[in-house]
């Protein structure tokens, strides 16, 4: 186990680690509420326009969404394995698992951008050019709202994925070229918390968006 440097305000490494973890969870709590507000908006409008949301959901690509969920779950596994490798001081494995996590994040984004371009082509992006192909002439009230929420929710989530990829990729490069830093295990764990949280958000987004069609 790496001997971590203990900052002077802490009694020992255990207390420092606890404080680090609590700080990260405080930040994640703000993120829960950040996404939570959007989830609340989704819940209200789905309640008010159930039919439109059902139709909106049917436009989404379930196989791709399922694949993306599987990819993020796997990336959480590799992130946990990276933390484990840092705790057991295996530098090569840390770099490998971080790189894998990063790569899977990129694949997730790739699939997401494919889905987005399909939506743009099908005229499903909200705004002046919104023209969904429906049996009936008139789009049900709330259909455009569904897509507003879809793009904002998945867009904000994708932004968080990008931030995660940058951090994890940077860490992977550092570990690969400069070796494990002093507080490796703790740094991995905190970034891991962020990445797992991004996964948890998607775990809830997936059924709400893709499984109502």
């Amino acid at each position: 186990m790496t001997d971590s440097r203990v900052a002077h305000q802490f009694d020992d490494a255990v207390q420092q680690h606890e404080a680090d973890t609590l700080g990260m969870w405080t930040f994640l709590a703000t993120e829960v509420l950040f996404f939570g507000g959007l989830f609340a908006a989704y819940a209200v409008y789905r309640f008010l326009y159930p039919e439109a949301f059902h139709i909106g959901g049917s436009f989404l690509d379930l196989p791709l969404g399922t694949l993306n969920t599987g990819i993020l779950l796997t990336s959480s596994l590799t992130m946990a394995l990276a933390v484990h490798a840092a705790q057991t001081e295996q530098q090569k494995k840390v770099a490998l698992f971080l790189a894998l996590t990063c790569a899977m994040g990129l694949v997730f984004l790739g699939i997401k951008s494919m889905e987005y371009s399909h939506k743009f082509e099908e005229g499903l992006f909200p705004g002046a050019g919104f023209h969904p192909h429906l049996e009936s002439e008139v789009a049900p009230a709330g259909l455009q709202l569904f897509f507003v929420l879809y793009f904002i929710l998945t867009g904000l989530h994708a932004l968080h994925v990008i931030i995660g990829i940058v951090m994890i990729g940077g860490l992977a490069a550092w570990v690969f070229w400069r070796g494990l830093p002093k507080n490796a295990a703790i740094a991995m764990e905190l970034i891991g918390l962020y990445w797992h949280f991004v996964d948890v958000v998607w775990i809830f987004l997936f059924p709400l968006l893709y499984l109502i069609g």
């Binding site: 609590l22 939570g36 309640f47 394995l81």
Partner: protein, 92 residues
């Protein structure tokens, strides 16, 4: 810092994949009003697995658990009070 066994991570991952398959399968069956509840219940179980094992909350102190739960509790309050209002105005 507790070091969790790799096998634990693998079992949790396997469980998560199984739950993913279940939630998609159940999603294709029309259970009317129950569909969203079951989907969200399964999602909650998956989230708890990720939080407890991958995020090490299950291996940390009670205080860590409180901090982790606080955000979700607050969100729960938001949703409950919000829906108390809407259901009062538009009964199911």
């Amino acid at each position: 810092m507790k070091i969790v066994h790799v096998s634990t991570y693998l079992w949790v991952f396997f469980a998560l994949l199984v739950l993913l398959v279940v939630t998609v399968a159940v999603g294709r069956v029309d259970l009317g009003i129950w569909n969203p509840f079951i989907a969200l219940l399964i999602a909650a179980v998956k989230a708890v697995l990720v939080v407890y094992f991958f995020m090490h909350v299950g291996y940390g102190s009670r205080l860590t658990g409180v901090f982790a739960g606080a955000g979700f509790l607050w969100l729960f309050l938001l949703l409950v009070i919000l829906f108390a209002d809407y259901l009062a105005r538009y009964p199911l």
